[in-house]
């Protein structure tokens, strides 16, 4: 089209007929894109953080456990030592090793923890401290004393070490160095001779609190007591190196299905189930899904506002220049050329808006990605317990998200500009030139 340079020139210059108006509109639309980018960055960052924290306070990205445990939560469903060693061997293979950051076998049971002052129902976690450090966040959240150590002998006459949550410590009125008694029912293991086994019998052991942690999660801080795995196995009467689960922490959350699938293929034993975090913590997955849906609606509202802004601006510009378009048409400009001129003007405005939006949006996003958004400033009375465990929320905006956001605004602006363009193209000449 030989007239294309002329139409582009006219479109561009038309934008600057009212520079203040154009800049204000571009700024408003740019802020819309900024808001979209910031919102997506914080959303993705929040979700990434929530998943990272959620899995590290729970069963990891992938968990291997006895079949039926997820459904029944029965402490008596244990993994055999053979499955544990087979899993660990597989996870050391070259293809999988690079995807896995930590593997922690755990023995889980319920019990009663008593001090001189009080008693409380607890969830007992027998762990290998060094392995647990690589998987769980609890070792990083010690606020008094220290976390369990592999050097601590299981039992040589002295009480075994234990770490408990801050809420539990307050309830029991204990501090680092205090002694507590952990009482539980020995596990009845399938196939074991009940006459000779210790199943059903109450067992207790003296523990010394060596550390107190605070995670911010009430369910963890008020219920969890971690002890070395041998001590837990001894207390629960578990023999042969059995554990309840093996928790895996991966380098990338997105690899969860891949690793779970590989493990399922490897562990053909029918008594084993391998679950991703979405299956083992379905509530977290549901909450994130709900949050995603809500945020998509919010982003839809932002996009609608941006779209209406573009439509309003371009439509007003077209209506204001009704006569001018009539003259252009009278001079021989074809309807299609008029439409191209209007669409060109709209796209030029969108391009300016997107540039401003990217500069503002990515600058603020960069700040939130590096310095974080301190949620304590927003929630002075305490953080909501559900989603974010770390009070500093870091934005994470992938290049895909940026491309998606810019593309969707651009495509939307293009589609929206068709209406004013059509209106300009269909201008009735006698009416535009006011024949009567």
């Amino acid at each position: 089209m030989t007239s294309a340079p002329l139409l582009i020139k006219v479109s561009w210059r038309n934008l600057w007929r009212n520079p203040r108006g154009t800049l204000l509109t571009a700024l408003a639309l740019g802020l819309g894109l900024s808001l979209l980018l910031i919102s997506l960055g914080l959303l993705d960052g929040g979700h990434e953080q929530t998943i990272a924290d959620g899995v590290r306070f729970g069963p990891g990205h992938v968990v291997i456990q006895a079949k039926g445990y997820q459904e029944t939560n029965s402490d008596e469903l244990l993994l055999s030592a053979r499955v544990v060693s087979s899993s660990e061997a597989f996870l050391q293979s070259d293809t999988i090793k690079q995807l896995v950051r930590g593997v922690s076998p755990r023995l889980l049971a319920t019990g009663l923890l008593s001090s001189a002052a009080n008693a409380s129902g607890v969830r007992i976690m027998g762990v290998i401290p060094q392995d647990e450090r690589a998987v769980s966040l609890i070792p990083q959240r010690m606020i008094a004393g220290s976390y369990l150590s592999n050097d601590t002998p299981p039992s040589n006459g002295r009480p075994s070490a234990a770490v408990i949550g801050i809420d539990l410590a307050r309830k029991l009125e204990v501090k680092v160095g205090s002694k507590v008694v952990l009482m539980t029912q020995a596990l009845r293991q399938p196939g074991a001779d009940t006459r000779n086994s210790s199943g059903d019998e109450m067992e207790s052991t003296l523990l010394r609190v060596t550390g107190i942690f605070r995670t911010g999660l009430q369910a963890v801080d008020a219920n969890i007591v971690q002890v070395p795995l041998p001590a837990a196995q001894s207390l629960l009467g578990v023999t042969g190196g059995q554990v309840t689960q093996v928790a895996l922490l991966l380098a990338e959350e997105s690899d969860s299905p891949l690793v779970a699938k590989a493990l399922r293929r490897q562990l053909t034993d029918a008594s084993v189930e391998v679950l991703t975090w979405r299956q083992s913590i379905p509530m977290l997955a549901q909450i994130l899904g709900l949050d995603h849906a809500f945020n998509y609606i919010m982003n839809g509202v932002i996009l609608a506002m941006v779209g209406l802004g573009i439509l309003n601006t371009i439509l007003m510009r077209v209506l204001e220049r009704h006569y001018e378009f009539g003259v252009c048409k009278a001079l021989g400009l074809r309807p299609g050329q008029l439409a191209v001129m209007v669409i060109g003007e709209s796209l030029a405005l969108t391009a300016i808006s997107l540039s401003l939006g990217l500069v503002f949006g990515l600058s603020i996003e960069h700040y939130f990605a590096t310095s974080g958004l301190d949620l304590r400033l927003l929630f002075r009375r305490g953080l909501p317990p559900a989603l974010v465990f770390d009070p500093i929320l870091y934005s994470r905006l992938s290049p895909n998200r940026i491309v998606w956001s810019v593309s969707i605004v651009f495509v939307m602006a293009t589609i929206i500009s068709f209406y004013p363009a059509l209106k300009a193209a269909r201008i009735d000449l006698p009416d535009a030139l006011k024949v009567l």
Binding site: T2, K9, R13, Y323, V327, A330, L331, G332, L429, L436
Partner: protein
């Protein structure tokens, strides 16, 4: 003889809801190539409608309109747009230059739409600007030009494609009398120099004096059509300078 413009029993009625306003009631006329014709009449007499129908900007309800050998009533909107671009020039009452383009760019607008090369565009616009006293104003935007200068740019825009016919709807209505006479001098000069047919509408008796042929309209009908043997004239160069 083939007329530059020929109308046969042309009728046009505007309808707004139940109200019907007859604008043209059986107009027939012939205009030869190179004529310098004025149409006059009171407001609502049908002058603008007549020009719009001759220019293919509006369609008649009935009758035949022949321009440059083509029957406008049988042409599509696209064909009419092409005819306007190639064969007809327009000068509007309120200049209607594109405010974002300079005087030079406004004048070359239709040439650009025709796909004429840059060198020919420059040559033609510079020649016209020189003839009608616009040299040196090429880079000014319409807002930086006087009314008379803007209307001369509009005439240049209409003339630059070397059309067979120029239609001007009250081209002097917004100009003071000296500027109006200067503009008419320019139009008349171009008419003589290029043999381009001019048809313009006016209320102004001073302007009517300059027409070679005077068509008077009233209530959508031609009430008189007289050729003027000795229309008023003036020195083009001096009038151009005084604008």
């Amino acid at each position: 003889m083939e007329w530059a413009v020929e109308l046969m029993d042309v009728r046009k009625t505007y309808r707004t809801g139940p109200i019907e306003v007859p604008a043209l009631r059986g107009i027939s006329l012939q205009v030869g190539q190179g004529e310098f014709v004025a149409t006059a009449g009171p407001s609502g007499s049908g002058k603008t409608t007549l020009l719009n129908i001759i220019g293919g900007l509006d369609r008649a309800d009935s009758g035949e309109i022949w321009v440059a050998g083509q029957n406008l009533q049988l042409m599509s909107s696209g064909d009419l747009a092409y005819l306007r671009l190639q064969r007809i020039g327009f000068v509007f009452q309120t200049y209607n230059l594109l405010p974002v383009l300079t005087a030079f760019e406004n004048a070359e607008f239709t040439l650009l739409l025709q796909g004429v090369s840059a060198s020919i565009r420059r040559e033609r616009v510079e020649k016209l600007f020189s003839e009608i006293g616009l040299s040196g104003l090429e880079n000014r935007r319409p807002a930086e030009l006087s009314g008379g200068q803007q209307q001369r740019v509009a005439v240049a825009r209409a003339m630059v494609t070397e059309p067979a016919l120029i239609l001007a709807d009250e081209p002097t209505a917004n100009l003071d009398s000296a500027t109006a006479i200067a503009l008419l001098d320019v139009m008349e000069h171009l008419n003589r120099a290029t043999n381009t047919t001019f048809i313009f509408s006016t209320h102004d008796p001073q302007v009517m004096e300059r027409a070679h042929r005077m068509i008077r309209l009233q209530d959508g009908q031609i009430v008189s059509d007289e050729a003027r043997a000795n229309p008023g004239n003036a020195d083009v160069a001096s009038a151009t300078r005084s604008a």
